[in-house]
Amino acid sequence: MDATLPTSETPAFSTARFRAEREADWVAFDALLTRLEKRGAKALSSDELLQLPLLYRATLSSLSIARATSLDKALLDHLEALSIRGYFLIYGVRESRLDRLKRFFLHDWPAAVRGLWKETLIVALILILGVATSWLLVAHDPEWYFHFIPEELSGGRDPRASVEFLRSTIGHGKAPDGEDGMLHVFATYLFTHNSRVSIMAFALGFAFGVPTMILEYYQGLSLGAMLAVFSAKGLGVEFGGWLFIHGTTELFAATLAGAAGLKIGTAVVFPGARGRLEAAAAAGRTAGKVMVGAIIMLLAAGILEGFGRQLITDTPVRYAIGTLMLLFWLGYYYLPRRSTAP
């Protein structure tokens, strides 16, 4: 080989010439991407939007060529980063935020809930089982009550309380402390607290769903114990109304959150024909939609509980509202509809 070859003649293909020819495209693509990231698709004219995929493909082809021919690290890194950025912007978003929101409420949310019907049934059964267990135990021997609900949390609502006191706690007769001005604070507290419990029930699902089921059973236990105390004093119907007005929404949401957790747990244990990771990912996406829905439901339940329950003290009206809410949710989720989604 000629010793002075690199300096004496220019090869037919040179990376310097390659760069000089293509550089304008990369700079233009970079500028378009920056504007797109900062201000969205509206910032680009229709000409520029048409240019975008062309420049993107030009950049990708440059990357391929550069990888095969160039040893300039700065150039390679730049093209790689630019291609990655371009790929995620161009293939990333296909719908506007409004369309996505519309599709979520009209299709994705109820469809995801419908997809979980088996898990929903199981969690509901566990909840009912919890209620039944503690009800039977407390009705048989009131001492059991203190095993289910710690004394400092019950606020005096235990088997030793008088009928008048119990009645006052569910909003009949004298109002507890005349805290009407604080209702919204109460509602907000309930919402944030319940949401946290539901998120937890969901998140615990990955441990094969076992902690989720325990949590749901535990919720059922405390509910059943309370129910037994009130019905023993002849306040069962009133307590039911106190619970029903928001409980249909809140317990439904808690059930759905548990079902979402259980879905992930079962997907990990029984992945079926797919790989375990793939099955968990698919289940996670369905469950994610359900969880957004459950949090919206809990917001509704918090409003019903904080405002509705304190302002409406008439038991039949409470039942009516609770039933209406339940019918609304059931209809929204399970009524068959034409599939409009892609």
Partner: protein, 289 residues
């Protein structure tokens, strides 16, 4: 251990972080998995920002509460805290760059593992799990410490739980959190690199011609190190590198360091790129020429 095997090991370790990611156009983007330390850095920045936002928000609400003498501010404060904590991550990751401010600073982003687009449900799922991985152990510890009922077992259990979940990313190749696993996502490098000038073009003051034997001592790894040194343009570093090369090829100190290095870089690059065109990639100086 020979230097050659050390180099090879280093390269293998870097290659282990690269995941094939083929676009519909058929180009492999070679995404690089973000390291655990970058993830942690991003998380710490995000948490710090959330705390700052929470403090500012609290002050604003206190002020508004005292000014208006109504308790509605208390509700807004509670709701705001809830939204901030749960939707900081979700909100930012739903944006165009799929990254929270912390992740953006670290140059990383979230992508869907299957190469499809990152859907909202995946983002929600991966971030709701955070409640379990991060906030639950934290609250458990702080509550038990505050109420002074921290039996050693509670603390130990909380700690064990937190460690199992938060160290989970260290035990898989893809550095996936529990949330990533369930949402089907990855966190990958997404740094921006600006297009630097071409070191191989531009006028050369004095051209020094190197013989083929003088150029044959180095490979691609050394070439790119040399490129880095030239781009940094630190006089002391250039002197060191120039002296090493002069010693290796047996040339006297006759020219300015930058002139010498630039000439050597250009000719080495031309030589190696020419070989590349013929399908010969010489990774480093230990590989055969």
């Amino acid at each position: 251990m020979t230097p050659a095997s050390t180099d090879a090991r280093l390269r293998a370790a870097q290659a282990k972080k690269i995941r094939e990611f083929v676009t519909p156009e058929g180009v492999d983007l070679e995404l690089r998995i973000a390291s655990a330390s970058l993830r942690l850095g991003g998380l710490v920045i995000d948490l710090a920002l959330i705390v700052v936002a929470l403090i500012l928000f609290t002050i604003a609400m206190l002020w508004a509460g005292f000014a208006s003498r109504s308790t509605i501010m208390l509700s807004i404060w509670m709701l705001g805290g809830f939204v901030l904590r749960n939707f900081w991550f979700i909100g930012f990751e739903l944006g165009q760059r799929a990254a929270t401010p912390g992740k953006r600073l670290m140059g990383i982003r979230v992508v869907a593992r299957d190469g499809g687009r990152l859907t909202a449900d995946a983002v929600v799922a991966r971030n709701l799990i955070r409640e379990l991985e991060l906030f639950l152990p934290l609250t458990m510890l702080s509550v038990s410490a505050a109420e002074d009922m921290a039996s050693a077992w509670t603390v130990l259990f909380g700690l064990g739980w937190a460690l199992t979940l938060s160290l989970f990313p260290l035990f898989n190749r893809d550095r996936m959190r529990m949330g990533d696993l369930i949402a089907g996502t990855w966190v990958v490098m997404a740094q921006r690199r600006k297009l630097d000038r071409d070191m191989a073009s531009g006028e050369a003051a004095h051209r020094i011609a190197f013989s083929d034997a003088e150029l044959a001592v180095y490979g691609i790894f050394e070439l790119q190190e040399l490129e880095r040194v030239l781009r940094t343009a630190d006089a002391k570093q250039m002197r060191e590198v120039a002296d090493t090369i002069r010693g290796k090829i047996g040339r006297p100190v006759a020219e300015e360091d930058d002139v010498f290095l630039t000439s050597y870089y250009r000719q080495l690059k031309t030589r190696l790129e020419r070989k590349l065109l013929f399908g010969k990639r010489r990774e480093d100086k230990y590989a055969s020429d």
